[in-house]
Amino acid sequence: CQNSFLDQPALGALNDSQLQSNAGVQTLLVGAYAVLDGVGAGAANPWDAAPGNWIYGSVAGGDAHKGSDGSDQAGINSIMQYSHDASNGFFNSKWKAVYEGVNRSNTTLFYLKKAKDITDADAKTIEAEARFLRGHYYFELKKMFKMVPWIDETTTDYAKPNVDDFKKQNTEDIWPKIEADLKFAADNLPATQSQVGRVNKWAALAYLAKAYLYQNKYQDAKTAFDQVISSGVTSNGLKYGLTDKYEDNFDAAAKNNKESVFAIQMAANDGTNAIDNANSGQMLNFPYQSPFRCCGFYQPTQDLVNSYRTDADGLPYVDTYNQTAVKNDMGLASSTAEKPTTFDPDQTALDPRLDWTVGRRGIPYLDWGNHPGQTWIRSQPYAGPYSPKKNVYWQYNQDKYADNHSWAPGTAINVLIIRFADVLLMAAEAEAQLGNLAKAQEYVNLVRARAANKTGWVYKYQDETKPMAGFSTTPAANYKISVYPDGKFAALGKAGALKAIYFERKLELAMEGHRFFDLSRWGIAEATLNAYIAYESKITTDLTGGHFTAGKNEYFPIPQRQIDLTTMGTTKTLTQNPSY
């Protein structure tokens, strides 16, 4: 009697035995997908662990300033200047969020083995999806932190070393394990899935190819990319290809199209009266005091904008893009009835992708009207005159795809981890590295040709005072872009071709969280980023004192908190990256 009086089971929660079933494991698997967005996974704020890596990939890569003003999210200031140390809380947030993804994948695999009512076929698919997700989460860790401990469904001691353990196994790091997970997924997943958010075999193969590329295994990468490019389909059965319009990749109404290889699904107005499932990792990244209200972060750099200048042949200035700056409206007040000010945007030749990537004054900002300049910017002297665009929703369908249940908006725009243009450019890289310059150029030209498709350009409004009434047929700027002429890459040689491919990645994938990791793996981060800081510091104050240190800043530090948490007595389990 006494004992039962004190017996108190957990209330409102599931225990071990309730999960050991097909339904339980399937639901755990959805939970493993759910943490792709980095929300509710231990990060201090959703933006710290944003899956699109706007901080670690794009801001650290020179695509964008942190933006806003100097005191807001001060931890990003030092990441932007490469003066960050291991105690910076942002790294800890990202670490925790991604390891929660690993943990949920592992939990799915753990209960999969215990469940009795799952068919072998189903079990294989579940295992493949879980291992794909785990591969993705480890890929994130790998490119951020270099050396990380491997935790799987059999691990019981989580204080595992990130270096020594691998030496014992006579391997260098976790790349083979990432490859094994992605390969298992590619081998065992179906080509199509009943739900478009589930990963399929082609996405897994593309990701595996990407993992090869990151390890400079160009032949393996090429072999896999070839299959993906020739035979790949999306989970909803669409043959992989580039969308006609570049902008469709960034429009919630057009998502899960044929270009979407692996995307994180975002949902707006999902009934939670909150924006947790609506890409809240980018909630800060809207023009300030605009219809989006908050918060003026993630402002593209002048360096990025200049990159879109094109020459008389419609080709980029790969080396000299910063010699002439694209005209901006720094210091010019926005026009008001009281103080009319005029600003004519740059009239020189520009790649049309610029105006789907960067919000700049005088150019239609989707259907929200021409970007007004200073009033949408929190502090021009601090972070420049530009606004982000790819993550912004349209006005006409905002009731459906914007989520206003917060002080800053959420959106239903997916976060693209791999899209087909990315696949083509990665394949081009592999081909160029293997000496197949013509094939590489072919892939690059596919991407440029799509950008050159005039139906996908930004046009002026029919009536600037009624932006939702539609667009005219007059391009918003002097767009000029063309494919590389035949034999151009051959003429450039391997090094020159690679440079062109790298530059194309910058243009095509700007503001999508890739740049820093690309520069780092290409080994050109120091030269590129220090040049960028030197140039950009003349325009804004936020980068003053920034400096990229080679041999150190290619990777971010293992979070100090994690080192502390795994220190036993005085023995550290985790080894810090060099020079941190």
Binding site: A10, N15, Y33, D72, A74, Q265, T272, Q289, P381
Partner: protein
């Protein structure tokens, strides 16, 4: 009907006893006469055997025969006969004139008459009146009147009565006297309520603070716990000025990393919450501080135990009415030292120039001239004239598209808006209390009703509370008593979450002064507009809560039955607990005036209910052997069960915002809801033995075995304690030291337990579905999500009781014939197996963390309490009470491999303000120590050169992000560079000591008292300065320090660093010593001046007592702290839906003393009256 003394003593009885004990004889007499004797067994040697035979003799004769040989006096008082030892100077008891008898007759005699009354004017029956140095004397009758025959009208009358201070009155040719006796609080408090029983104060062996309740409850507040501040040694109270906010209470320092809330025992019922107890109902309050006194509460005693007893009735029907009404005044002046709008603009220009010296400043609001010019309008930006007809704002908009069309027109407030005084206004406070009480042989009753209404000085914060109490006892027979204590409270108490940047207070120091409260049409103005920052209009924040509210109610109390089974055994069974429920509703209006608006409207409703019960059964055996061995044994069981649930929901999309329209059903948006419940139980066995030898040597042992449902593998814990006392003053060698009335040395050792911080779920690893983080739109619908699971809690089945090992040594001394009372204690507490939920490595994944028995902590300190009663002249008497509390808290272990845990990141770069580290106390501030400014580039270059030389690294720099005018940090570890290792402990929010002094003065009918409270030796982290002293830290209001006392080449001896456009490591992005200030203060918490109308005057209108008073609380404060109020607690819960009755407003934070907009204590002026009839 009260028995008259002469009636009692003239009762005639017959008795024949042979060889019986005195006690037995007295019991027989009690039965025959229905009169009760009150005596202390060892005092009267009750076991001594006597033989006596009387027939139809008066009681007085019988008692004379029985008691005189034993050297005992007796006196009749209020229906009982009190026995006491006759003093050696007077071998024979003064003859009692009651019943018309007198042994001594002097002639001729002069008849004098008089009345003895208490302070309320009620007659005191049975008081003794004696002519000093004679045998002449008498007792008062039932109305307190007496008649005495004196040989001459000279000499001194000595008037005494049990429970009152003896008074001497000069006769001085008077023949009529009114003698007012003052209640002897010391004597009343001699019986101290301790765990599961009572003890005489002189027999106490544990450390117990007995609180002077009447002094304490003078403080005008709804919270008894707030009133406790400074009143009891060893108790630290951290509160604020917010109405209804229960402060954080700590007994003897910090015992755990989680909740340090003590256990409250109200009329024998344990509870965690006394926020709704009516202070007027409290009869006594004791704080059990050491293991010797508190371990009897075992598992729940580690944070200390506060025992409250509520009032009971006695005597004839008495009606009292106590009330006060007053006003609460707000601090005047520019409380945060905010700049004028012109100076704000000047500062902006300076900061922009400092950051980019070569770029000409152009500002959309202030122009591009050499000096800024304030515009007439801030919206449209920088406008001088505006066509106001184009204005369009609809505050009740329902779509984002409509918000986008707003055309706001806002005039610049060039004079500057005083945001503090826009939200803080004078407010009223009132309390009305009525009680009816009475009692007699058959039982007693008390009924009380209290209405308390304190409006907050901050808009729309207040507490309104109604409390009803009914206490009664029925004496079914001489041996069986049944009773109940019940209180019911209804509370409406909207609060804000102060001390955070998002509160209205936080916004008030962030809003730029150029922004007016309202725009040109009377809608709210705000930070919307260029360069106006991102603060939110605090007036709008608070005004929008006007219709929010809720009601909490609680029924709390117990029923008991008590029976005297055999002659020495009493059994008692008490069943008590609480039944509570409450709800809160709020409407969130869409915002439009801010730069960062939430455009949706939503309505939220939360409700909770629950109950818990405690069933206690005890048996007490009490016996004195051979007049020398006092033995008291208590055994018992206690069971506790706690159940509750919470639920709530939110809906959006309201067509109308009319408060009469909105409910959870009328919104058009998707409703969301939640619910949860909790349950836990305790089962305990209790035992205590008290033994006293000849009233000199006292020992006490307690043991308790507790089982808790919150633990799985180790459910039970045993908590023993042992304490002893030596009354040195009873030793023969001390008898001649006349100035020592009583002196006792006490010591104790024992273990107390704690499980407060452990949730019922702690043993289990659980999984659940969480929409925000485990659901996913896996089907790509863009608008809906599918259920997924995640781990919600990580289990630890091995958790067991936290053990607080406690040693205490103390003295109790009464000196100079009771004028001076001193209690002093020194203690050491070591908390072992401290339950803490250490963060797990990120690689383990997420889930709420389990508590494990891992940490260790120690507290040491001294408690001191002193009372002095004195008189300056016959009419002018005074008393002084002082308490002193010190504690030294030290963390000994945090967790394996971890020597600290951090808290309070605020707006820094991920570094925290507070580090709780081994070797330091909880809550210490941590960061870089500022060592002046970099005054020129030469200093920087020299430091870098030194760093390169010292480290041998050619690219080494002394400090990151350095520039002239910024802070230079101290190289604490001396490695030549500023790194994370140079962070150091910058301050300690724990005071070195705190103290309270109460001074009371009485002059005839006037009384005056003042209570001073102070803390010393603590630091405050003034985070308000982060917002106001640094230009780059958001474009909000800045302080005069930022403009007039910041570094410039012309003003290097500055307080703040150079003002720039962006923050840096060397200015504001990391915690540093800039924010640390001394936090000591001395505050006049309370001062009261009262006048009691003469009883004679009142009698004519049927009033027993009438006292009126004027009072001021928080009259003055002496402090060096530059912020609004140096009394800074912790962030408390605000919504009224938190976990049921537990912690409804109590903060469990271990970090404290961080000021980010404190809700200040306000100066209060009150008028009050005490009336009884």
């Amino acid at each position: 009907r009260e028995s008259k003394a002469q009636d009692v003593l003239s009762k005639r009885i017959s008795l024949d006893v042979q060889g019986q004990t005195v006690k037995q004889v007295l019991r027989t007499v009690e039965k025959l006469t229905s009169i009760k004797f009150v005596y202390s067994s060892h005092l009267i040697q009750a076991d001594r055997r006597v033989s006596l035979s009387v027939s139809n003799e008066s009681l007085s004769r019988l008692l004379d025969q029985l008691l005189h040989p034993l050297n005992l006096n007796y006196e009749v008082s209020g229906g009982v006969i009190i026995l006491s030892r006759a003093s050696s100077q007077i071998p024979v008891r003064a003859p009692v004139s009651g019943g018309g008898m007198s042994f001594v007759n002097h002639l001729p005699l002069i008849v004098v008459t008089g009345k003895v009354t208490d302070a309320t004017g009620s007659g005191i029956p049975g008081s003794s009146i004696r002519l000093k140095n004679s045998t002449i004397g008498t007792n008062t009758d039932a109305e307190g009147k007496f008649t005495l025959n004196l040989p001459e009208l000279k000499g001194t009358l000595v008037v005494s009565s049990v429970g009152y201070v003896t008074k001497e009155v000069e006769i001085n040719n008077q023949s009529s006297f009114v003698v007012i006796l003052e209640a002897d609080t010391k004597q009343l408090s001699e019986v101290v309520v301790v765990g599961y029983g009572t003890q005489k104060k002189k027999d106490l062996t544990g450390a117990v603070s007995v609180i002077n309740v009447s002094q304490m409850t003078e403080q005008p507040t709804s919270q008894i716990t707030s009133q406790l501040q400074g009143r009891a040694s060893g108790v630290t109270v951290l509160g604020s000025g917010q109405p209804g906010e229960a402060p954080q209470i700590r007994i003897r320092g910090l015992n755990t990393f989680g909740s340090n809330t003590p256990l409250y025992v109200v009329d024998g019922v344990p509870t965690q919450n006394i926020a709704d107890i009516n202070p007027n109902d409290v009869a006594s309050m004791q704080v059990l501080k050491d293991a010797g006194s508190a371990s009897i509460y075992g598992s729940r005693a580690a944070n200390g135990v506060i025992i409250l007893t509520t009032k009971r009735g006695s005597g004839k029907v008495k009606v009292t009415y106590d009330a006060y009404y007053g006003t609460q005044r707000v601090k005047q002046g520019n409380v945060w030292d905010i700049l004028s709008p012109q100076d704000m603009a000047n500062l902006k220009f300076r900061a922009l120039k400092n950051s980019a010296p070569n770029v000409p400043v152009t500002d959309q609001q202030y122009g591009s001239g050499a000096t800024p010019v304030l515009p007439n309008y801030i919206e449209p930006t920088g406008a001088q004239t505006v066509d106001e007809s184009t204005y369009f704002v609809n505050p009740n908009y329902t779509s984002s598209a409509e918000l986008d069309r707003f055309n706001r027109i806002v005039k610049a407030n060039k004079g500057g808006t005083d945001w503090f005084h826009e939200i803080f206004k004078p407010a009223s406070i009132q309390s009305h209390n009525i009680s009816v009480s009475g009692g007699g042989n058959q039982g007693n009753y008390l009924f009380s009703l209290n209405y308390f209404n304190q409006q907050g000085t901050l808009l729309n914060t207040y507490v309104k509370r109604y409390t009803i109490r009914s206490n009664s006892q029925y004496n079914i027979s001489d041996h069986v008593r049944i009773g109940e204590n019940l209180a019911f409270s209804v509370t409406d108490n909207p609060r804000i979450n102060a001390l955070t940047e998002g509160s209205a207070i936080g916004m008030a120091f962030r809003m730029q002064p150029i922004i007016p409260v309202y725009d040109i049409r009377g809608n709210y103005a705000g930070s919307h507009g260029v360069g106006m920052g991102n603060a939110k209009n605090p007036v709008a924040i608070q005004r929008r809560t006007a219709n929010n509210g809720g009601l909490n109610n609680r029924l709390f109390g117990n029923m008991y039955i008590e029976a005297d089974l055999f002659k020495d055994v009493t059994v008692r069974s008490s069943f008590g607990g609480e039944l509570f429920s409450g709800s809160f509703h709020s409407f969130a209006y869409p915002e439009y005036e801010n730069s960062e608006n939430t455009p949706t409207n939503s309505y939220t409703e939360n409700a909770f209910n629950g109950f818990n019960w405690t069933w206690t059964n005890t048996a007490t055996y009490s016996h004195t052997f051979n007049n020398t061995h006092d033995l008291k044994v208590l055994v018992g069981t206690e069971a506790y069960q706690n159940r509750g649930r919470n639920l709530g929901g939110t809906t959006t999309g309201y067509f109308s915002f009319d408060p009469n329209y909105v409910n959870l059903s009328t919104g058009s948006g998707t409703p969301t809801n939640y619910s949860n419940r909790y349950a836990d139980a305790l089962y305990s066995l209790i035992g205590r033995v008290d033994y006293g030898y000849a009233g000199k040597y006292l020992i006490s042992a307690t043991v308790r075995r507790d089982g808790s449902s919150r633990f799985l593998n180790t459910q039970y814990g045993v908590f023993p304690a042992f304490s002893a006392g030596w009354r040195i003053s009873q030793e023969n060698f001390m008898k001649n030291v006349s100035w020592i009335t009583d002196l006792k040395l006490r010591g104790g050792y024992g273990i107390m337990g704690n499980q407060l911080n452990v949730l019922a779920i702690n043993p289990f690893t659980t999984y659940g579905a969480v929409k925000a983080s485990s659901f996913y739109d896996i089907a790509g619908t863009t608008t809906s999500i599918i259920s997924g699971f995640q781990r919600t809690h990580i289990g630890n089945p091995d958790a067991k009781w936290e053990k607080n090992v406690n040693s205490n040594i103390g003295i109790d001394a009464t000196l100079f014939h009771g004028k001076l009372d001193v209690t002093a204690d020194y203690y050491v507490k070591e908390v072992k197996d401290l339950l803490y939920n250490p963060e797990m490595p990120g690689s383990a994944g997420q889930g709420d963390l389990p508590y494990v028995n891992i940490a260790k902590m120690r507290n040491r300190g001294v408690d001191l309490a002193i009372t002095y009663n004195g008189s300056i002249t016959k009419d002018l008497t005074f008393n002084v009470t002082g308490t002193l509390t010190t504690y030294n808290n030290k963390i000994l272990t945090v967790a394996t491999g971890t020597s600290y845990f951090d808290q309070e990141g605020r707006r820094f770069n991920g570094s925290n303000i507070v580090r709780n580290a081994v070797g330091h106390s909880i809550g210490q501030f941590f960061g870089y120590k500022i060592d002046g400014f970099w005054n020129n580039q030469g200093e920087i270059d020299a430091a870098n050169a030194a760093a390169r030389a010292k480290t041998g690294n050619a690219s080494a720099v002394y400090q990151n992000e350095v520039a002239v005018g910024r802070f230079k940090y101290a190289d604490v570890n001396g490695d030549g560079q500023i790194t994370a290792d140079d962070r150091t402990f910058l301050g300690n929010p724990n005071p070195k000591f705190s103290y309270g002094v109460n001074l009371g003065l009485n002059y005839k009918n006037w009384d005056f008292s003042i209570f001073l409270y102070g803390v010393q030796g603590n630091d405050i982290w003034n985070n308000v300065r982060w917002w106001t002293d640094f230009y780059p830290n958001f474009a909000g209001a800045k302080s005069r320090t930022a403009y007039y006392d910041s570094w410039t080449p012309e003003h290097m001896n500055a307080k703040a660093p150079i003002q720039e456009n962006s923050g840096s490591f060397s200015t504001t992005t990391v915690p540093n010593s800039y924010y640390v200030e001394k936090g000591g203060y001395l505050r006049a918490k309370n001062a009261q001046l009262g006048y009691t109308f003469p009883a004679a005057l009142l009698k004519k209108v049927g009033v027993q007592r009438l006292r009126v008073y004027v009072q001021s609380a928080n009259l003055f404060t002496i402090t060096k702290y530059s912020g609004l109020d140096p009394e800074i607690g912790t962030t408390a819960n605000t919504n009224n839906s938190s976990n049921g009755s537990l912690n409804q407003s109590i903060s469990n934070n271990t970090s404290f003393g961080i000021d980010e907009g404190v809700y200040p204590n306000q100066r209060q002026f009150l008028l009050g009256l005490n009336l009884s009839f």
